[in-house]
């Protein structure tokens, strides 16, 4: 398979089709509508299910229903639509159903605008809805990673029977880059044993998130937490650039992460020993490795397209070992290499590595 020039939104949509997506339900919202549009044609072509729902609330509950039937299903949206899914996402988590949701973040709060943002980090990683749960959150920073994360998302969702989110932003959705799509896969022929497909010749299946009696629900919560612990230990992912000898560490994900690659190059050219730590999973947050690095480096700079959300996790993990500086842009502004670089130099000066 050769690389082709692909727009992010089209890429993840087509990747889903090729990974055997059996049903898509969604509601248009910029900056990810091209995905829905692409699927409106492709899914029907492939004889699969595409349905434009009457709202994001309906969409996530349709996904919930299809997922209960044991098929690969997903939806995609952005900020306001993601908020509307909160209740449904909590039900999905509570009933332990594999579901994949893409959130191409845009400027907020409220209607905000449609430019790229990373301001839904808290909402996606800390909870995504009421009650105790964490979705797995993948953070691609280019079109190829976005494509690969779709396959990973389905794999993890089904392995752990859990909710997996892909945290994109308007920029990853709109950008065109060279990338390779996976080969076409047909839809799964079989349905998992727990799926509600009609109790033919087997015990019936009931899928619910209701557990009357505190003790009963606590049992479920404990199982859920145990699963999350397991995920936390096995699925934390990250990528690093020139951290071996790094004295200053950039921490950023997604679009901010790739921008920091340029920052790093410039700084290195000037001889500054800087490394980049780029979380590929936002939950579980790659705590162990970051903690290690926080012992090695003399300063950390967190770069986000938000007021500083992942920043809190970095602070929690670094435990005050080294000074942490933050460079954040909001409202859909894409951070500029030169501005980040200025802050980086300042930090370097503070911690006297220069």
């Amino acid at each position: 398979m050769v690389k082709q020039l692909l727009k992010g939104n089209i890429a993840f949509a087509e990747a889903a089709v090729r990974n055997g997506l059996e049903a898509y339900f969604g509601y248009p919202i910029t900056p990810q509508s091209e995905a829905l549009e692409h699927l409106s044609g492709r899914m029907i072509e492939e004889g699969r299910v595409f349905l434009q729902a009457e709202s994001e609330v309906a969409a996530i509950n349709m996904v919930y229903g299809a997922a209960c039937a044991g098929v690969r299903t997903m939806t995609s949206t952005s900020g306001p639509g993601f908020s509307l899914m909160a209740e449904g996402l909590s039900y999905i988590a509570g009933s332990e159903i594999p579901v994949v949701v893409v959130n191409m973040m845009r400027g907020g709060p409220g209607l905000g605008n449609i430019q790229p943002s990373q301001a839904d980090y808290f909402l996606m990683t800390k909870t995504a809805g009421h009650g105790d749960f964490h979705p797995i959150v993948l953070a691609p920073s280019n079109v190829q990673e976005l494509i690969d994360d779709v396959a990973l998302a389905f794999e993890l969702a089904e392995k752990y029977r859990t909710l997996v989110l892909i945290a994109g932003d308007g920029s990853i959705g709109q950008i065109m880059e060279a990338a390779e799509l996976p080969p076409m896969q047909p839809v799964r022929k079989t349905r998992p044993a727990w799926a509600t497909t009609g109790a033919q010749g087997r015990e019936r299946n009931v899928i619910t998130s209701l557990y009357l009696g505190a003790a009963n629900l606590e049992v479920v919560n404990k199982r859920l937490q145990a699963k999350l612990m397991e995920i936390k230990h096995h699925e934390a992912r990250f990528s690093e650039v020139q951290t071996e000898d790094a004295e200053v560490l950039l921490v950023a994900y997604g679009t901010s992460g790739r921008i920091c690659v340029s920052v790093l190059r410039e700084a290195r050219r000037e001889g500054l020993k800087v490394g980049l730590f780029r979380p590929r999973t936002l939950w579980p947050f790659p705590e162990e490795r970051l903690a290690e690095l926080s012992h090695q480096v003399r300063g950390i700079m967190v770069v986000e397209m938000s007021a500083g959300q992942m920043l809190e996790d970095v602070e929690r993990v670094a435990q005050g070992r080294v000074p942490i500086r933050f460079h954040g842009r909001m409202g859909g502004v894409i951070p500029m290499v030169d501005e980040i670089k200025l802050d980086l130099d300042a930090l370097a000066a503070d911690v006297a590595v220069r």
Binding site: L5, M176, I259, V261, I334
Partner: protein, 182 residues
């Protein structure tokens, strides 16, 4: 090392985004790393459109830059916006049919091509984007004109097929003019 950060900017409808994409396809065809990043917004007409195309031999980090190494400006507002931003030593390619202004900058290479007029001559005002792209390729040698033509051939939709030939001419004409005025 081949590395160019180019901004295409003009009115919506001037084919700014497609010109950028065509360059991107060509870059990919010639084995370069490529990013194409558009300005995007809700359906509102009469706005300006622009995209940033980066072609490079090394993997690309930031898909947008404050100071492009080249700017191709299709209309007045775009000139005003990008003329001051081009990197020193960079290229400023101007559609002189719609832009009368002249650049005061000494440190950039400003080239003026009457793209709109040329396109009209060649039979369709909408081909101004190809005239400018042809000029750009000629001036930078970033990719070969042949590659551009091949990619054009590959990516023109059925409905537009009939324009392949004229567009080719527009590309070559633009290259020519650039060579002269460049």
């Amino acid at each position: 090392m081949r590395h160019e950060e180019t901004v295409f900017s003009g009115f919506g409808g001037q084919g700014v985004l497609f010109a950028g994409q065509l360059l991107s396809y060509a870059g990919l065809a010639e084995g370069l790393y490529v990013t194409w990043f558009p300005s995007y917004g809700p359906e509102m007409r009469g706005g300006t459109a622009n995209c940033t195309v980066i072609l490079s031999e090394e993997e690309i980090g930031a898909p947008v830059v404050r100071h492009p190494t080249a700017a191709i400006v299709f209309n007045g507002p775009s000139f005003t916006k990008y003329e001051p931003l081009v990197k020193p030593g960079g290229l400023l390619l101007v559609n002189s049919s719609l832009i009368t202004a002249r650049s005061a900058r000494e440190d950039v290479r400003a080239v003026f091509v009457p793209a709109t007029d040329v396109a009209t001559e060649l039979g369709n005002v909408r081909m101004a984007n190809m005239v400018l792209l042809g000029g750009f390729v000629e001036l930078t040698g970033l990719v070969s004109l042949q590659t551009i033509v091949q990619q054009l051939d590959e990516h023109l939709s059925e409905r537009q097929r009939k324009w392949l030939e004229p567009n080719e001419r527009a590309l070559h004409r633009g290259a020519e003019l650039a060579r002269q005025s460049g």
